[in-house]
Symmetry: C2
Subunit: 231 residues, 2 copies
DNA sequence: CGCTAGCTTGAATGACGTCAAAGCGAGTGG
DNA sequence: CCACTCGCTTTGACGTCATTCAAGCTAGCG
């Protein structure tokens, strides 16, 4: 009955509507619970699309999601990768200004936007939570602006360290995303990403055991390159 | 009694504390009023500094303010210019992550942060307003990330059009800020800004009647260059 | 074993930054 | 009123770094 038509960009929402499993009370963040259902997405499956009505808010249960903007010239700016416990789909307007896709097999908690909005109108704690989430997103986006002025190798070092702190161990990290994804996130080309990874390996900062698995060999070198802004 | 020591970065706040003029009820945004006092700032005078306790929230009454980050290597990333009716100094943390300075002679409405926070705890409408302001800031910051992938001339065309829509007329705009400010906002050097302005003049998109006054000669050319992202 | 998609590597191009010098304009003092 | 000066701006020559174009390579899979 439900054919594979994720490219149309609506099927996933029909699937959510058709999901008759009982919503469970789940935390969006911090305090307060809201009913939510769990949905599964295959790699590269669309979650929502730019310009579509913003009916749901999402929280990653497992897997990874990318949110991105498609530019006029066909290029793609990846806004953020969302890992377990991250909330996304929370915006100001009634329509999405970004698109979202699963990077790998992913499970999401799906909240009705109307329920969250209603909760925020009656309950200042919920409104504060939304403010806090948006504020944190703003901080990360500002950091991205600052990063975008730095060199390719610095951006990549910073990216690997951040990724490691989210989904890696002390000594290594598995890249859930392709070189294309990394390039579109950092504002580089896949060739440059590849070259800089090779360069990081050449200076013994990392080892690429496979194309998707990175071992941190010298965190200090990475940290110096990542060189966070300060006053 | 109060010596000129704005470089220390505290004098301005002492001045606010010492201001015994009766606070008037003022709108932060939309609905709801909060007591505020008016403060005047000279060109380049500091409003607050990175790392300082975040005691106030500001709204521009007249003039222009720049908020910026100082990077480890001494470079400066201007985060935003704030024009009349813009609110700034609203962040997530208890300390400022940005610095703020007047670009030109400026008057600000100064609100106590504690009053605003208290209002937001008891009054969901105020909390919603803060959320809306932060959301709008986030949108602008995202647009900056997207812009930072584009060429120098495109960034500049986009900047001039945005500036024109805020403080210009149909046909012209006065630049309140220096080439340094523009460069640090767009992530370019002053030389490149200057070259691109000359280039825009060469292709008859604008005319620079003085270094600070720009006449729009062909808005279409600017718009095509500015070429907003779309899906 | 060969195919394909994703990744890596190389060489040439181009955009912006850097360094250097000259131009311009507003304020100052003669 | 004019010459001088200082800071900002413009312009030029050149270097650097990321992109582009073009092969090759590798790993997963039929």
């Amino acid at each position: 009955m439900l054919t594979a038509c994720s490219t149309i960009g609506v099927a996933h929402e029909e699937r959510i509507d058709a999901c008759h499993s009982a919503p469970r009370s789940e935390q969006l963040s911090g305090t307060g619970t809201v009913p939510a259902v769990v949905m599964s997405y295959a790699a590269d499956e669309r979650v929502f699309g730019q310009g579509m009505p913003r009916r749901f808010v999402y929280k990653v249960k497992s897997g990874v999601v990318r949110t991105f903007t498609l530019l006029g010239d066909g290029r793609r700016q990846i806004d953020a990768f969302h890992f377990p416990d991250d909330v996304f789909g929370l915006e100001l307007n009634d329509d999405h200004s970004l698109s979202a896709e699963a990077v790998a097999a992913t499970q999401l908690l799906v909240f009705q936007r109307s329920l969250i909005d209603r909760a925020a109108e009656n309950n200042c704690a919920m409104a504060q939570e939304l403010l806090s989430l948006t504020g944190r997103t703003l901080e990360r986006t500002r950091a991205q602006v600052v990063l975008s002025r730095r060199s390719a190798i610095e951006r990549l070092a910073n990216f690997l360290l951040n990724l490691g702190s989210r989904v890696g161990t002390e000594t290594s990290v598995d890249l859930p995303m392709s070189r294309y994804d990394i390039a579109d996130y950092l504002g580089l080309t896949i060739e440059t990403v590849s070259r800089m990874l090779s360069e990081l390996e050449r200076i013994d900062a990392i080892v690429l055991t496979t194309t998707r698995h990175i071992v941190f060999r010298d965190r200090v070198k990475l940290t110096v390159l990542s060189n966070p802004p300060m006053g």
